[in-house]
């Protein structure tokens, strides 16, 4: 056998198990999820009927689904700008100091690697009503009115967003900081010599050059907030997404449909909707990244 042939054989041999894995644990399940979304299958009944797009029609007339979809967009719309703005400011500040940068960065990253379930319960404990919740204790200590946080229809979702921002902040800071450090010093110094002030340097040089980083973070953070589940499951009463569905995101809706009421068909169609939204955002990223800024 020739060396070339032998190498080709070796390559296929090495890829054999991985291909089986990616086909049977990734591709076949994806296709199966699409197929299930067109059936009325309930895990208890042996029959599986093809119902076309009926599930989707039902979903979009289900008030709980629409509520969950709306909540999911709220998580993204509140969470992503907040985490990006905060982490951008922090990374600018970190970039301005010289000593202790690594130490500060380390502290900001810590929540990101902490188990989300533990984080959720710690924040749930801090958000408790007065007199037992520490945040309310702090509020009344400085003379501000106490809040109901997780028990309030208006505040619970925002309270969960704040916890999630606290978790994701460090990740975004590290990426912004890495991006800032790729900007050549000469650009910044040249613009200073030309008489640009700090704000001009920031808006005319730094932000445009960071464009790819910003797009990347907007997309990854949006997907993260779209897929929010663990925090809501652990921070709301009995993992219900309450009070009165006010915090229930899409994934919790899917979880309840599939694993509490066993409507696999309907749940799968909700996952198809989630997949569609994520795909749209990812494609948007590619479009936005095409327009790179050149200096």
């Amino acid at each position: 056998m020739k060396l070339r042939q032998k190498k080709t054989m070796t390559a296929y041999l090495f890829l054999l198990i991985p291909l089986v894995f990616f086909v049977f644990v990734r591709f076949v399940p994806t296709i199966y999820a699409f197929w299930l979304s067109l059936t009325d299958w309930n895990i208890i009944s042996p029959k599986m009927n093809f119902v076309g797009l009926d599930n989707f029609r039902e979903l979009f007339s289900d008030t709980v689904f629409l509520k969950a979809l709306g909540n999911t967009f709220k998580y993204v719309l509140y969470g992503v700008p907040l985490v990006l703005a905060l982490s951008f400011v922090i990374s600018l500040l970190l970039n301005a100091i010289q000593k202790g940068q690594a130490f500060y960065r380390l502290i900001y990253v810590m929540p990101y690697i902490t188990p989300l379930v533990a984080v959720s319960w710690v924040w749930r404990w801090m958000y408790q009503r007065p007199p037992i919740g520490v945040i309310n204790g702090l509020l009344s200590f400085v003379g501000l009115p106490t809040q109901r946080f997780l028990f309030s229809m208006d505040q619970a979702l925002i309270a969960i967003v704040v916890t999630t921002v606290w978790v994701n902040l460090g990740y975004c800071v590290v990426i912004f900081l890495a991006g800032l450090q790729t900007i050549p010093r000469e650009y910044l110094e040249a613009s200073k010599i030309d008489g640009a002030n700090r704000l001009q340097v920031l808006t005319k040089i730094t932000i445009p050059l960071l464009n790819p980083v910003i797009v990347f973070l907007v997309v990854t953070q949006s997907i993260l907030f779209l897929r929010i589940f663990t925090q809501v499951y652990n921070m709301t009463d009995q993992g219900s997404g309450g009070p009165l569905n006010s915090t229930k995101p899409l994934v919790l809706y899917i979880y309840q449909k599939a694993f509490l009421s066993f409507e696999m068909g309907a749940a799968s169609s909700a996952t198809v909707v989630l997949f569609g939204i994520i795909l749209l955002i990812t494609l948007l990223q590619f479009q936005l990244l095409k327009r790179r800024i050149q200096y």
Binding site: F14, V25, Y233, M264
Partner: protein
């Protein structure tokens, strides 16, 4: 340095330090609550007046926390080893061999990154119930045995290994698998370390799939166990905080040991975009 530069620097230090309090406080509050007695938990003292270890004694004595720690450790270690082995093998093959279908295979593997786990859990559940994998270690582990992101990462690093080195080993009569194992793997150690740490943290913290696939408490992983334990002990906040502390400590240790790799690894994932 101009005066305004110095001012900016001082203000930066002040703001960053103030923010650190916000970042660290939940950890301290968690730890301090875990040393409080039932009587003291509802008084908002920052440090317990009479710190006690009873909560820890109770949690290890009468709950399944030790078992959950063990489950999580077993699952995270085995999946991480599997990911390291297979992802670097795939990366090596895709970087160092030319064969028909190579591009398609790479694109297909990468395209799985776009499929959200949430879409796969229902088919995985059905598959596991048909094959008898529900409520077992294998059932929890099998979806994570390889990672498309790891393939992407390892392929990039494998490409930087010089071909001459591999050819020299071939002339010396080394087998192709031997070349992979003994020549290339040692050269991509930093990438392996990054992949290992991220995978370990991800497996340790995973929640949705373990929650779905495990049904008896003795098979729970630590996060699922903690969620279960907390809802069983609702309003016993000193116990919930003890459980949270116990689940967090192993990761803080990993974090402090490998902080440089973690920070570098995050930056690496960001710059691929």
């Amino acid at each position: 340095m101009t005066r305004s530069d110095r001012l900016v620097r001082i203000l930066s230090y002040i703001t960053l330090t103030a923010l650190i309090v916000v970042m660290v406080f939940p950890f301290l509050w968690m730890a301090s609550s875990s040393f409080k007695s039932t009587d003291e938990i509802y008084s908002l003292t920052y440090f317990p007046n009479k710190p006690i270890l009873d909560n820890y004694r109770e949690i290890f004595g009468s709950s399944l926390f030790l078992r959950w720690l063990l489950n999580s450790a077993i699952i995270a270690v085995i999946t991480t080893i599997s990911v390291l082995f297979f992802d670097s093998l795939i990366g090596f093959t895709l970087a160092k061999y030319s064969f028909p279908g190579k591009r398609i295979i790479f694109v297909l593997i990468l395209s799985t990154l776009m499929i959200p786990t949430e879409m796969l859990v229902i088919p995985w559940y059905i598959m596991s119930s048909r094959l008898g994998w529900l409520d077992s270690y294998w059932g929890i582990m099998f979806p994570g045995m390889m990672s498309a992101f790891g393939v992407f990462l390892m392929r990039q690093f494998m490409e930087s290994v010089p071909d001459d080195l591999l050819d020299a080993a071939r002339i010396d009569g080394m087998s192709e698998f031997g070349i992979f194992l003994r020549i290339t793997l040692p050269l991509v150690k930093p990438a392996l370390a990054t992949l290992a740490i991220f995978n370990f943290i991800g497996d340790w913290n995973a929640f949705l799939w373990p929650l779905i696939v495990s049904s008896t408490p003795k098979m729970y992983t630590l996060p699922v166990g903690l969620a279960y334990f907390s809802s069983e002990n609702l309003m016993r906040w000193e116990m919930i905080m003890t459980g949270s502390t116990v689940s967090t400590i192993p990761l803080i240790i990993v974090f402090l040991l490998f902080q440089k790799h973690i920070v570098k690894g995050i930056a690496l994932t960001g710059l691929k975009g």
